[in-house]
């Protein structure tokens, strides 16, 4: 008699009952790290398949870097760097534009989460034995992927327009990684907004009100030295300035430590503060 048949014989009487207990519920029901990563993978696959199904949802990350770079270089480039010096301005602008792209992509996460909640599928996820944070983290994973696409296009456009890199590829990768990290931390803020407001449109509305002053009141587009001193104070403390300056220094050289540490600190603080609130809100949402 083989072992397999022995096990069968010892099974309790009603076969349907025993079949049903696929995962014996003996523990506290906690979800281990490996299971958690598996769940995030399955959910990230879902988000990626949604993009495949609806390729138009990639228009923003495909077109935004092209449109904004061309717009700023040719409209403002002459004014900032002097007529005919556009390529100088490209080298100034493009590293900083990663901060702006990151901000815009992360805003889309908020409306995405909000739309997800209008659908019944969220109810299913929330009645399943998975960590509720995994739904949010999977979304962030895929959005960081989208952000990488946006950065890649941005850099291609930048190089075509004559952007120069004075540092090592490692430092360039560092600049990209730093921008991704900061963008990912911003996503928690927008997830929080997405879970709070009623409609996806409202996310866009609230988002824009916050974004416009932050983006333009920074060193992304122009050096703050021409701004009035009160505004300079604002741009000095604007994390987007830190990120733009750090990325710029990693592309074309210059002092980087202060802005690098400031950006890392901002990312850490934003994530540590908003992520737990967002997850708690997600857990309680009815």
């Amino acid at each position: 008699m083989s072992t397999a048949t022995t096990t069968k014989v010892t099974e309790p009487a009603p076969p349907t009952r025993t079949e049903r207990t696929v995962r014996p519920v003996t523990d506290e029901g906690r979800i281990g790290l490996r299971a958690n990563l598996r769940h995030i993978g399955a959910l990230a696959r879902r988000n990626a398949l949604q993009i495949k199904q609806d390729p138009e949802s990639m228009f923003d990350v495909l077109l935004m870097p092209i449109v904004f770079t061309l717009l700023f270089v040719f409209v403002f480039g002459g004014a900032v760097a002097g007529k005919g010096n556009q390529s100088e301005y490209v080298s100034y602008l493009v590293p900083g534009l990663m901060a702006m792209m990151g901000l815009n992509v992360s805003m889309a996460v908020g409306s995405g989460i909000n739309e997800d909640f209008q659908k019944g599928v969220m109810d299913r996820f929330r009645t399943m034995p998975i960590a509720r944070s995994s739904v949010l983290i999977a979304k962030i994973v895929v959005e960081v992927g989208r952000m990488m696409v946006a950065f890649a296009i941005l850099l291609i456009v930048g190089f075509i327009l004559g952007m120069s890199v004075e540092t090592s590829p490692l430092q360039v990768l560092g600049a990209i990684g730093l921008s991704l990290l900061f963008g990912a931390s911003l996503m928690w803020i927008f997830i929080l907004i997405g879970l709070t407001v009623k409609t996806a449109q409202a996310v866009q509305g609230v988002g824009f009100l916050v974004l416009m002053p932050l983006q333009f009141g920074s060193s992304i587009f122009t050096p703050p030295s021409t701004m009035p001193s009160w505004l300079q104070n604002f741009t000095d403390y604007n994390p987007l300035s830190n990120l733009a300056d750090a990325a710029r220094a990693l592309f074309i050289g210059g002092p980087v430590a202060h802005d690098l540490w400031m950006t890392l600190a901002w990312s850490a603080v934003i994530t540590v503060v908003t992520a737990p609130i967002a997850v708690a809100k997600f857990r309680k949402k009815t």
Partner: protein, 340 residues
């Protein structure tokens, strides 16, 4: 009427609810609900819109926390042990809880992976369930292109991946046409035959009668009646036979002829709208009534039976009409919308 389950004499309860309360501001969505679902049976929760059915299901599936009371599902407390509980339940709501942008197969595969099935097992299970729910041909199509019935079947399939011990069906056929509704019923009956315990909410007496062995009738967050379907049917009067004679003038004569038979409940016959309505408690009565009318040579233009509507059930049980939220309290659907 075929009943698909038998109640074990010493059946243990899979779902035990005591004094469950959930208020939304002044709205008492659940106002002290008690109910039991015995293992391997179907409990129908019957009630009008806004009675608290969806709130009940959402409490029992850990989507919302009750304000007071206890609920134990498959041995786990909904408030204290939500994580363990989620491993034993399945939920199919009135709103399709599948991802519309994904193909049917991808939905099932994803859920399999989320339930910790290894990749090959998740693939196999997705294939099996699509086959079983007759969706194999639509496996690769996005759910957006599915018909209402296909969507609901996929939803049921999704709920079955984890082989739940307890399945909640929240108005599984609301908004479906009669043919599709029958398909969904057939699937539910198959699941029950497999031994799953089901808590079914519905607005339709017919659905409850088709699927459930016991019924709990709720209104405005409170249980107003409960018991075996047969007992409630006896209380409510089961089916009604409607007869339209070719000559309306014959109606009183027909009624008199019937009352002479002395059949059970025949005294409850009524005449209105040019028809005679006769309460039918058993199939033999149906034969007897029709045989009698035929034997006496009455000309009959139309004959039919209907089950009591929710309104009639409420009228019989509570003596008042079902409250379709006449007091301005929001329905479950509205509450869901407001919360979203």
């Amino acid at each position: 009427m075929t009943r698909i389950d038998t109640i074990p004499a010493d059946g243990t309860t899979a779902v035990t609810v005591r004094g469950l309360v959930k208020h939304y501001g002044a709205t008492k969505a659940l106002d002290g609900v008690d109910l039991d679902v015995r293992e391997g049976t179907v409990l129908g929760v019957l009630g009008p819109n806004g009675a608290g059915k969806t709130t009940l299901v959402r409490c029992l599936s850990t989507l919302i926390l009750p304000d007071a009371g206890t609920a134990v599902v498959a041995g786990f407390d909904v408030v204290k042990q939500p994580r363990q509980l989620r491993r034993t339940i399945g939920l199919t709501g009135q709103y399709a809880s599948v991802d519309e942008k994904l193909a049917g197969w991808e939905n099932l595969y994803m859920i399999g992976r989320l339930l910790d099935l290894p990749r090959p097992a998740a693939r196999k299970r997705a294939d099996e369930l699509l086959e079983r729910f007759s969706l194999t041909e639509a496996a690769k199509k996005p759910v957006l292109q599915y018909s209402g019935g296909m969507r609901r079947r996929l939803d049921l399939a999704a709920s079955m991946i984890g082989q739940p011990a307890v399945l909640y069906l929240d108005e599984p056929t609301t908004g479906l046409d009669p043919r599709t509704r029958n398909e969904v019923w057939a699937e539910v009956k198959r699941m029950v035959a497999d031994g799953v315990t089901v808590l079914l909410t519905t607005q339709y007496m017919e659905e409850a009668e088709q699927l459930a062995s016991e019924l709990t009738v709720i209104d405005r967050g409170r249980v107003v009646a409960g018991g075996k379907v047969d007992e409630l049917k006896a209380k409510v009067g089961g089916r009604t036979l409607e007869i339209r004679p070719s000559d309306p003038g014959q109606l009183p004569e027909m009624a008199r002829a019937l009352s002479e038979t002395g059949l059970d409940g025949i005294a409850g016959s009524q005449i209105h709208d040019g028809m005679l309505f006769v309460p039918i408690l058993a199939d033999v009565q149906l034969t007897a009534v029709i045989g009698l009318l035929g034997g006496r040579g009455f000309d009959i233009a139309h004959i039919g039976t209907h089950l009591p509507s929710l309104d009639e059930v409420f009228l019989a049980i509570t003596g008042e009409k079902a409250s379709e939220q006449s007091d301005g309290t929001p329905t479950d659907a509205q509450l869901k919308g407001a919360a979203a």
